[in-house]
Amino acid sequence: MQKPRTIIEKLWDSHVVTEQPGAPALLYIDLHLVHEVTSPQAFDGLRKRGLKVRRPDLTFATTDHSTPTTPKSLPIVDPVAATQVRQLEKNAAEFGIPCYGFHSPKQGIVHVIGPENGLTQPGMTVVCGDSHTATHGAFGALAFGIGTSEVEMVLATQCLPQRKSKTFEVRVDGTLREGVTAKDIILALCAKVGIGGGTGSVFEYTGTAIRALTIEERMTVCNMSIEAGARAGLIAPDDATYQYLNGRTYAPKGTDWDEAVERWRALPSDEGAVYDKGVTIDASTLEPMITFGTNPGMGMQISGAIPDPASISDPVERESLAKALRYMALEPGKPLAGQPIDVVFIGSCTNSRITDLRAAAGVLKGRKVSPKVRVMVVPGSQEIKRQAEAEGLDKVFQAAGADWREAGCSMCIAMNGDQLSPGQYSVSTSNRNFEGRQGKGGRTFLASPLTAAASAVTGVVTDVRSLLAQ
């Protein structure tokens, strides 16, 4: 009998093209997603070498990072960004790759449009020149971010030389309490293992709390695997996965669908499969989480106090925390709840899906955002924008005083003009609180859409449960 395998090992084994002595395994890539920021130099490389794209039928492009979220009738004001967006559209046309360009009615964040259109499927290997590619792991795919040289490699050969990662089980059992979300699970994991805790590993999220999540929520969890150091993180597919996928544009149809589901049912980790590493989280004890520092591992429960560098013995670690608190202009030992904020950002590949917008709208409905706070709501795709508008969510946001915008990465990465001013504080549903991530000198608190919406109403960092009780 074959040794029991994890889903990570099954995905690896089924995609090894060849393994030569002295060289890494050659891994076949089923889906390559492309965006404007990390691809232009790769297409240039193909041109210089006289190569074409080997499998345009396994490749898909969209514009998201540099695109403004102002009305589509307006031009892209930044000439450098405009050139980059146009270059992707030109490269896609030249190399025969399908592309949701800036004016496409299907345009959106690359990690939103893949699942939305059924491009992302269980059992696949998925890559993209973007570290949040692990999002697609929510479908039971081995999905990871790559650099531009690797983008060129995949465009040219549909393969990547890869060394096998370690397997790391993140087991989350128990039931989430009211006001606590998938975002809080992943922020709790980042705080527990640290920003480098998963380096060299692929996470598999298991346990009853993970099984109970919707597919959108699973994407939120997998999305931030990289913030705990893991290049990939995934969840074995189940009936909820198949239900989400069935009928989407690129999902298999008819008998192909039935055969596919039968294949996918063999993907989950075998009984008795052994992981190299593991960690457990009790979902029933979690509170809403919030970050206080300058990396996603610097997070705590919203009722907690900011840690004191003086309590750390390692000098480099101590100075790193002190540096973070200086940047954030926060005092050790104080709570974060009640901290005044300037901006709330609801969006990003972590939390811009319809369920996220519904959650935020649920808090904002019948309430007004604080006059001191600018609130931006940025849907993940044009498709989500239309759906939200069909449900009247745009009206809820606008009536509350929030700004309802076009789809894109927006203030998660602040490449498109949506950004904080120096010194401003934001509560953001995005994935990174690095120095300057949301604009030079800007200060980011990462949190769930519920926490973000609650803080928008009060104008200070707020435990959403205090509003839910009202």
Partner: protein, 201 residues
């Protein structure tokens, strides 16, 4: 790519843990469609004050730092975004190696593809390197996989054998992958459940 040979250099010391790629090169500089001209954007927001003048407290703004080829940084260097602009900016500035106790996976892969050597050392060696006086230099020998400290101690460091071969030869992986064409075709012939992104939606 150029062949990676052994070399000796004085150090730039940056004792900060978890230096993320947004610090190595801020996202607003990623709107370029070129690989070039990134050297001045390296560590931009640490290197320059809000008015644009050099921050006198940042290590790269010392005159002596300009010719140094080795950066010693804190644990988990290069975490965050997959931007290859990070190693591009580091090499264009003149760095040929970064020494740390660990590196983020994507940054490490990207560096190896750009003749920038990530050198992982143990905590004790790392401490020694950070404590060295400003004028001290170390030697990096990739063939022998050794880092030689000023006192003559040689410390071994790990390198993936395939990456080492590519660096020493100054070639990229594409030639190797193209040689596997028969295997790739055989694999494609038996693949199941493919999508077709070209099928009209």
């Amino acid at each position: 790519m150029i062949k990676f040979s052994s070399f000796e250099s004085k150090l730039v010391q940056l004792p900060v843990d978890n230096v993320d790629t947004d610090q190595i090169i801020p996202a607003r500089f990623l709107k370029t469609i070129s690989k070039d001209g990134l050297d001045d954007q390296l560590f931009y927001d640490w290197r320059y004050l809000p008015g644009g003048e050099p921050n006198p407290e940042f290590v790269l703004n010392h005159d002596w730092a300009k010719t140094r080829q080795i950066l010693v940084a804190g644990d988990n260097f290069g975490c965050g975004s997959s931007r290859e602009h990070a190693p591009w900016a580091l090499t264009q500035y003149g760095f040929r190696a970064v020494i740390s106790t660990s590196f983020a996976d994507i940054f490490k892969n990207n560096s190896l593809k750009n003749s920038l050597l990530p050198v992982v050392v143990d905590a004790e060696t790392h401490k020694k390197l950070l404590a060295l006086p400003a004028g001290a230099s170390v030697k990096i020998d990739l063939s022998a996989q050794t880092l030689t400290l000023p006192d003559g101690t040689a410390v071994e460091f790990p390198v993936d054998e395939f990456s080492k071969y590519l660096l020493l030869e100054g070639v990229d992986e594409l030639g190797y992958v193209h040689q596997q064409e028969d295997a790739i075709q055989a694999f494609e012939a038996k693949r199941l459940g493919s999508i077709n992104t070209l099928a009209a939606a």
